[in-house]
């Protein structure tokens, strides 16, 4: 028990926490992220409508403006869309899907990317050549184009979006991890582990992986934002999530059709939420990058 308290105190007294407190963009970034974590966990029970439940929709309430505009109603704070869905409720549910996809894609692609990066960096030679050439070829195409191509081959669906994003995203992790693995491999503790008779697999998992985790965390954080954006673009182009489970990108698309007719709110609010989430993630990601990379300090 006392050691736990001591460790806690050590954490709160650490340089990391001190720098965090002095860095306003890091604080704003985390505030935004924490806010959206609340939105996606508690939000659905706070909004008054389930946008997926068709029975609860009132077609009569289609295209109501936000509450502060003439014709707005207090029960639809941000207005409604063409089916009479409360836009606030749609955004809360849509944010859930967007964030879920962003996080899940980050986990899948960092798992695959880190594994391949470790293999390429540690074994080198043929493995390295094959893995990194695939990565190079893939990086010469815009990631959205590849995702678009994959989605048109797979069809709509959250699982398929996830697969596409993983196929697109592993490259960044693989390159980052390979680079760090190469520099860690030079250090004598890896040689020492080899000289101690440790099998390669164990050296990679026990000794190299923990030491390349830092850059991996930084890249992973920033990539969540990228994944959310790619998913939004895919859905906007109509090849992302299915129409019954709209993500933020699909909401923007739904509103885009009527945007020029003056019904701007249906697409501007979901778009603003995407921007805010990615902004928050990037602020925090930048802070982590500066903080965890000793060369930038």
């Amino acid at each position: 028990m006392p050691t736990i308290i001591k460790k806690n105190q050590a954490f709160w007294a650490s340089e990391f926490v001190h720098n965090f407190r002095g860095n306003s963009s890091a604080i704003i970034g985390s505030a935004i992220i924490i806010f959206f974590i609340f939105v996606v966990t508690l939000g659905p029970s706070l909004v008054r409508q389930n946008p997926y439940d068709i029975a609860s929709l009132e077609l009569m309430d289609a295209y109501k403006p936000p509450v502060w505009l003439p014709g707005g109603e207090t029960k639809y704070i941000l207005g409604t869309d063409g089916q009479g869905r409360d836009l606030l409720a749609s955004i809360v549910y849509g944010t859930r899907i967007s964030l879920l996809i962003g996080l899940a894609a980050m986990f899948c692609s960092s798992l695959i990317g880190a594994t391949l990066g470790l293999i390429a960096g540690y074994y080198g030679g043929r493995w390295d050549g094959v893995i990194m050439r695939i990565a190079d070829v893939q990086l010469s195409f815009p990631s959205l184009l590849i995702a678009l191509f994959l989605m048109s081959a797979f069809g709509n669906g959250i699982d398929k979006v996830l697969i596409s994003l993983t196929c697109v995203g592993w490259v960044v992790y693989a390159r980052t991890v390979r680079g760090s693995t190469l520099s860690e491999k030079q250090k004598e503790y890896v040689q020492a582990a080899q000289a101690a008779g440790l099998p390669n697999r164990k050296i990679i998992v026990r000794h190299i992986l923990p030491n390349v985790l830092t850059p991996l965390i930084v890249v992973a954080t920033i990539q969540i934002g990228t994944f959310i954006l790619i998913e939004a673009s895919l859905s906007f182009l109509g090849v992302g999530v299915p129409i019954t489970k709209p993500s933020l990108g699909l909401l923007v698309k739904n509103g885009f059709d009527v945007l020029l007719s003056g019904l701007w709110w249906t697409s501007v609010f979901p778009g603003a939420v995407i921007m805010l989430i990615v902004f928050g993630i990037n602020l925090l990601g930048d802070f982590l990058r500066d903080e965890l990379n000793p060369r930038l300090r």
């Binding site: 020492a192 080899q194 030491n211």
Partner: protein, 325 residues
């Protein structure tokens, strides 16, 4: 009783690079008895570390052991497959590296790193392992070892880390310890402490040691036998006394001459003129000929073989010098 531990015959380790073949070790023979301390001396790039890594079977591509035998307790190590070799590494033969700052993993406690070897090569349970860790740390002169087990490498100074590394190297009671420039990264006062410690420990455990260094002063304090390498070959080998007091090869003489002499006032340190030749374009005769003070016509065209000039003392020179320091 035959207590020969290591016998190396005709070892050749080449590196096949795009620019050509680098003959890092080109026909090296020596043997080492149990409990003996052998010094391997030479300038940077003479192949002395490669000998150590060849014994460990840790030569990475593009390097390869071309030919030769490394008999360890009668077993030819290059013939073993990776699986069997791993049982030798860390158990029978261990290594001590040059830089104590990077040869411990910064993320694990020293206990975890010491126990790693024990878990791998012994059947001790957690309690026995801990006891052994404390014992080992005590052995290498770390005070209050029990309280330091949970410390991380950054909480130790360079000299203490090297002590921990020595403790790890001795953890599995190896037959042979290969120390690759173990004191180069340490400051001079710590150096002699560490050397004395290593000497005491290998004597106590009857462990053989191969001490790879460029510092003749170090080996002259520590070793039983010395081999002097130049450009991938042995130029002189013999007992410590042979090399330090009765050396015959001009290169060894040059190395000894470049040790600063504190008793005599010197304006400049003696040095060996010239530079180590490019190992890919070695001279056709003796590799040392271009820098040798005693060079003669034959040296430039023919390469001298390592020949015994008195029992146990061999030199690769046509015109062995009489010592004249």
């Amino acid at each position: 009783m035959n207590n020969e531990l290591v016998h190396i015959r005709g070892l050749k380790t080449y590196f096949h690079t795009f620019a050509g073949v680098i003959k890092a070790v080109d026909g090296v023979d020596f043997s080492l008895d149990q409990g003996e301390i052998l010094g391997v001396v030479g300038e940077s790039g003479c192949g002395k570390s490669v000998v150590g890594f060849s014994i460990m079977g840790l030569i990475d591509a593009p390097g390869r052991i071309e030919s030769g035998e490394i008999l360890f307790n009668g077993v030819n190590l290059p013939d073993l497959d990776e699986r069997d070799m791993r049982k030798v590494r860390g158990k029978e033969i261990t290594m001590i590296f040059q830089d104590p700052m990077t040869s411990l993993n910064p993320l694990y406690t020293i206990q975890a790193q010491m126990e790693e070897v024990m878990k791998l090569h012994s059947t001790m349970n957690a309690e026995e392992r801990k006891k052994r860790c404390i014992e080992l740390l005590d052995d290498v002169g770390i005070s209050q070892p029990a309280s330091r087990l949970k410390n991380y490498p950054h909480q130790f100074s360079g000299g203490m880390r090297q002590r921990v590394i020595i403790a790890i190297a001795l953890a599995s009671n190896p037959k042979l310890v290969i120390a690759d420039e173990p004191t180069t990264a340490l400051d001079v006062t710590i150096q002699s402490q560490i050397l004395k410690l290593m000497k005491r420990l290998v004597r106590e455990h009857r462990t053989a040691m191969m001490l790879i260094t460029h510092d003749l002063a170090v080996v002259s304090e520590m070793t039983d036998k010395i081999i002097v390498m130049y450009c991938g070959r042995i130029v002189e080998k013999g007992t410590r006394d042979d090399i330090i007091n009765r050396c015959r090869h001009p290169y060894t003489l040059g190395l000894l001459g470049s040790i600063p002499n504190l008793a005599a006032r010197q304006k400049r340190l003696n040095q060996i003129p010239g530079m180590v030749p490019n190992i890919m374009q070695l001279p056709s005769g003796c590799a040392f000929a271009p820098r040798c003070d005693y060079v003669q016509e034959k040296c430039r065209s023919h390469r001298p073989e390592l020949l015994e000039i008195e029992p146990g003392h061999a030199t690769a020179c046509y015109y062995p010098v009489e010592r004249q320091l």
